[in-house]
C-alpha cells in the first residue's frame, strides 16, 4: 500500500506545484486587501509541504495499512469502465442519452460482469429508459436525444 501512497503523493505534489506556480501569475494583493493570488499561493505552499511529507513518511516509515492491494485485473476493469464511459460521452450528443447509456451498461454487464446477452441487453435498455424517464420526462431535463422530442 505504501507504494500506491507514494504515487498518490506524487500526484498531489504535481497538482500543488501547478497551483503554486499559477498563483504567481495572479495579483497577490490589491490595495491593502488580498488579491486573487493570495489563497492559491498559500494553499499551494501548504499542499506541497503536506505532499512531500506524505511521500517521505511512506518512504521512511512504510506504514502498514489495511486494504486490498491494487491488482492488474482490477486496474484493467477500471480502465474499461472509465474508457467506455468516455467513449459514449464523446457520441452522446449525436446518438442521444438512451442509446449511449444502453451501450455503456451493456459493456459493463456483458463484458465485465459476464452476464448472459439477453439479461445484459434487457437491463441495459430498461435501466437507460428508466433514468431517461425520470430526468427528461418528469423533470424536463433536456437530455440529448437521437430523435428530437422523442428519444
Amino acid at each position: 500500500m505504501w507504494k500506491a501512497n507514494i504515487v498518490f503523493g506524487l500526484f498531489t505534489s504535481f497538482v500543488s506545484a501547478y497551483i503554486l506556480l499559477h498563483s504567481y501569475t495572479l495579483s497577490y494583493t490589491i490595495g491593502f486587501n488580498v488579491g486573487p493570488g493570495y489563497m492559491p499561493r498559500w494553499i499551494g505552499i501548504v499542499f506541497l509541504i503536506a505532499s512531500i511529507f506524505f511521500i517521505l513518511w511512506n518512504l521512511i516509515i512504510r506504514p502498514e495499512e489495511a486494504g486490498d492491494p491494487f491488482r492488474v485485473v482490477e486496474l484493467l476493469k477500471a480502465a474499461v469502465i472509465f474508457g467506455s464511459l468516455f467513449g459514449v460521452l464523446v457520441v452522446i450528443e449525436r446518438i442521444g442519452f438512451v442509446i449511449s447509456m444502453t451501450i455503456f451498461m451493456f459493456i459493463v454487464l456483458f463484458f465485465l460482469e459476464k452476464k448472459p446477452i439477453h439479461y445484459s441487453l434487457a437491463f441495459a435498455v430498461s435501466g437507460s429508459l428508466l433514468v431517461f424517464g425520470l430526468f427528461a420526462v418528469l423533470f424536463e431535463v433536456p437530455l440529448p436525444r437521437l430523435v428530437p422530442r422523442w428519444i
Binding site: 476493469k77 468516455f86 442519452f97 435501466g127 437507460s128
Partner: protein, 506 residues
C-alpha cells in the same frame, strides 16, 4: 400568544382541500427531486413555478414551499442506500449512513434520517413562528470574520476523524480547496485555472465533484473488485427496522444539538443547510464520548441524526431572513422570494404586519408538509430499501447512468459529465487508498465562501488579520476550530498508546 393564534389561523387555511393537495403534491415532487442526484430543490421549484401561475397565490406558495422542504428530506435516501447524496447537505448522510447500510441497517437508518428531519424541521418552525423578527436582527450582527470561522470549524472537524490519517485528511481537504478555487475569483473577477475552457469560468460544479467522489468511486470500486453481489446481500438483509433503545441514547441528544446548531446557522443569510449539516456534524463529533468518537465515519447513527436534523432546522430558519427581511438565505429561498414577488407580495418586516394570515399560512404549510413526509418516509422505508435487492452487477452501472443524467442536468451540457469522469478517476484512487472524500467535498463547497469572507474581513480591518481574535464571537469560534482539530488527534494518540477506551464497555 399572538403568534400562536396567527399560526392557528394559518393552519386552518392550509387544512382546506386545495391547499392540502398543493402541500401533498409539492412534498412528493420535492422528495423525488431531492433523491435524484443533480436535481436540486431550486431546480424543482423553478420547474414547478409555471404550474402555479393559474393557482391562488397562497396555494401556489404552499406548493413551492412544500417542494423546498421535501427536497431537504429526500436527499438522504440515496445517500444512505447507495452512497450517492441526492443534494449537498446529504453528504454527511452518505458518510455515516452508508456504512450502516453495509451492516444491514438500511431501514432503521432511513427512518432515523426521516424522523430527525421532522424533528429539526418542526423545532425550527417553532422558533420561526415565535422569534422570527427578533432572530433576524441577531443574525445580521454576524459578520464576515464569524462566517469565515464557522466554515473553518466545519473543515477542521472533518479533517482528522474523517480519514483516520491526519495527513491523508489534510491532502483530501487541500485537493477540495483546489477544486473550489477553479473559475472566476468571487471578488475581483480574475479567472483562475480554467485551462482555456470557458465552461470552467463558473467553477467546477460542486454536485459533479460530490457525485464523482461518492457515487462513481464507490460504483467502480465495487465493480472492479468483483464484490458487487456481496454488497447487495449485506445491504439487503436488514437486521433492524427501527433504531434500538441503545441508539436512542445517542440520537435524542443529537436532535437537540443538531436542531440548535442547524437553526443558528440557517438564520445567517447565505449560510444555508449544507453548512448547517456540516456544522452540526462537527458539534456532534466534538461532543462525542470516548467510546463513540471512533465510530464516526464508520457508521455513527447520531451523525446521521444530527446532520439531518440540522439540515431541516436550517431550512426552516432560512425562511426567517427571507420573510422578515426579504434576504434569501439560500438559492432555494431566492427562488421562493422571486415567487412571492411574482404573486405581488413583498417580503420584509411589514409582511407579518400587513399579511399575517398569508405569512403564517406558509409556515403552517411547512408543518403539514413535514408531517406528511414523516408518514411517507417512515412507512415506505422498507419499500425503498428494496433497491438494495437489485443485484449489485445491475445496480452499480445504473448508479453511474443516474450520475451521468444528474450531472448533465446541472448545466444542460455534457462538459460537467467529462469533469465527472475525470474526478471519478481521482475519487476511485482516493477510495482505494483510503483517503476520505468528506474533507475534499467540504472544502470544495466552502472555498468560494471562505475566500469571500476572508477578503471581506480584511477589508473591514484594513488588512489587519487580528480581526479574527479581536471580536469575542470570532475568538470563541477560533478556539472551537483549534479544539476540533487538536482534540481528535490527542484522542487518537491516547487510543494508540492504549491509555483509554476500555473494550466491551458499550
Amino acid at each position: 400568544m399572538e403568534p400562536l393564534a396567527n399560526f392557528a389561523d394559518g393552519l386552518a387555511i392550509v387544512l382546506s382541500t386545495e391547499s392540502l393537495a398543493a402541500a401533498v403534491i409539492g412534498s412528493l415532487v420535492g422528495i423525488v427531486a431531492g433523491a435524484l442526484p443533480g436535481m436540486t430543490a431550486t431546480a424543482a421549484i423553478a420547474i414547478c413555478l409555471p404550474l402555479t401561475f393559474g393557482l391562488d397565490p397562497l396555494v401556489g406558495i404552499i406548493m413551492l414551499t412544500s417542494i423546498y422542504y421535501a427536497a431537504a428530506f429526500g436527499g438522504a435516501v440515496p445517500a444512505i442506500l447507495i452512497n450517492t447524496p441526492g443534494d449537498n447537505p446529504a453528504v454527511i448522510a452518505a458518510v455515516e449512513g452508508y456504512p450502516l447500510t453495509q451492516r444491514g441497517l438500511a431501514i432503521a437508518t432511513i427512518r432515523v434520517a426521516f424522523i430527525s428531519s421532522f424533528m429539526g424541521g418542526t423545532v425550527g418552525l417553532f422558533f420561526v413562528v415565535f422569534l422570527a423578527p427578533a432572530l433576524a436582527e441577531i443574525a445580521l450582527a454576524f459578520g464576515p470574520p464569524e462566517y469565515f470561522l464557522v466554515m473553518m470549524l466545519g473543515i477542521s472537524s472533518v479533517l482528522v476523524v474523517g480519514s483516520g490519517s491526519v495527513v491523508k485528511g489534510l491532502l483530501s481537504a487541500l485537493l477540495g480547496a483546489v477544486v473550489g478555487l477553479v473559475g472566476m475569483n468571487p471578488l475581483h473577477g480574475q479567472v483562475r485555472m480554467t485551462f482555456g475552457y470557458y465552461q470552467l469560468m463558473e467553477g467546477i460544479p460542486f454536485v459533479a465533484f460530490a457525485i464523482a467522489l461518492f457515487c462513481i468511486a464507490v460504483a467502480v470500486t465495487n465493480l472492479t473488485l468483483g464484490n458487487a453481489s456481496q454488497i447487495k446481500q449485506e445491504g439487503a438483509s436488514s437486521k433492524a427496522r427501527w433504531p434500538s433503545r441503545g441508539d436512542l441514547r445517542y440520537i435524542v441528544p443529537a436532535w437537540i444539538r443538531g436542531s440548535a446548531a442547524g437553526f443558528a446557522v440557517g438564520l445567517l443569510p447565505g449560510a444555508g443547510p449544507t453548512i448547517a449539516s456540516f456544522f452540526a456534524y462537527a458539534v456532534e463529533k466534538l461532543s462525542a464520548s470516548k467510546l463513540r468518537a471512533p465510530l464516526f465515519s464508520k457508521g455513527a447513527v447520531e451523525g446521521v441524526a444530527s446532520a439531518e436534523c440540522a439540515n431541516n432546522a436550517a431550512t426552516s430558519a432560512s425562511l426567517v431572513p427571507m420573510l422578515s427581511l426579504g434576504i434569501p438565505g439560500s438559492a432555494g429561498t431566492a427562488v421562493l422570494l422571486g415567487a412571492l414577488l411574482m404573486f405581488g407580495l413583498r417580503p420584509g418586516p411589514l409582511l407579518f404586519e400587513n399579511h399575517p394570515t398569508f405569512a403564517f399560512a406558509v409556515l403552517a404549510s411547512v408543518l403539514v408538509g413535514t408531517t406528511f413526509m414523516l408518514i411517507i418516509g417512515v412507512s415506505l422505508a422498507p419499500v425503498v430499501s428494496y433497491i438494495l435487492r437489485i443485484p449489485g452487477s445491475v445496480l452499480f452501472p445504473l448508479i453511474i447512468v443516474i450520475a451521468v443524467a444528474g450531472t448533465y442536468s446541472i448545466r444542460n451540457d455534457v462538459f460537467p459529465v467529462y469533469l465527472l469522469l475525470m474526478l471519478g478517476i481521482v475519487g476511485y484512487f482516493m477510495l482505494r487508498l483510503q483517503v476520505a472524500a468528506a474533507p475534499a467535498i467540504l472544502t470544495a463547497v466552502l472555498m468560494p465562501l471562505l475566500e469571500i469572507n476572508f477578503m471581506q474581513s480584511l477589508t473591514m480591518s484594513r488588512g489587519n488579520i487580528g480581526i479574527f481574535v479581536s471580536r469575542p464571537l470570532s475568538l470563541l469560534l477560533l478556539f472551537m476550530c483549534v479544539a476540533a482539530f487538536v482534540l481528535p488527534i490527542i484522542l487518537m494518540r491516547r487510543r494508540q498508546t492504549g491509555l483509554t477506551f476500555p473494550k466491551n464497555e458499550d
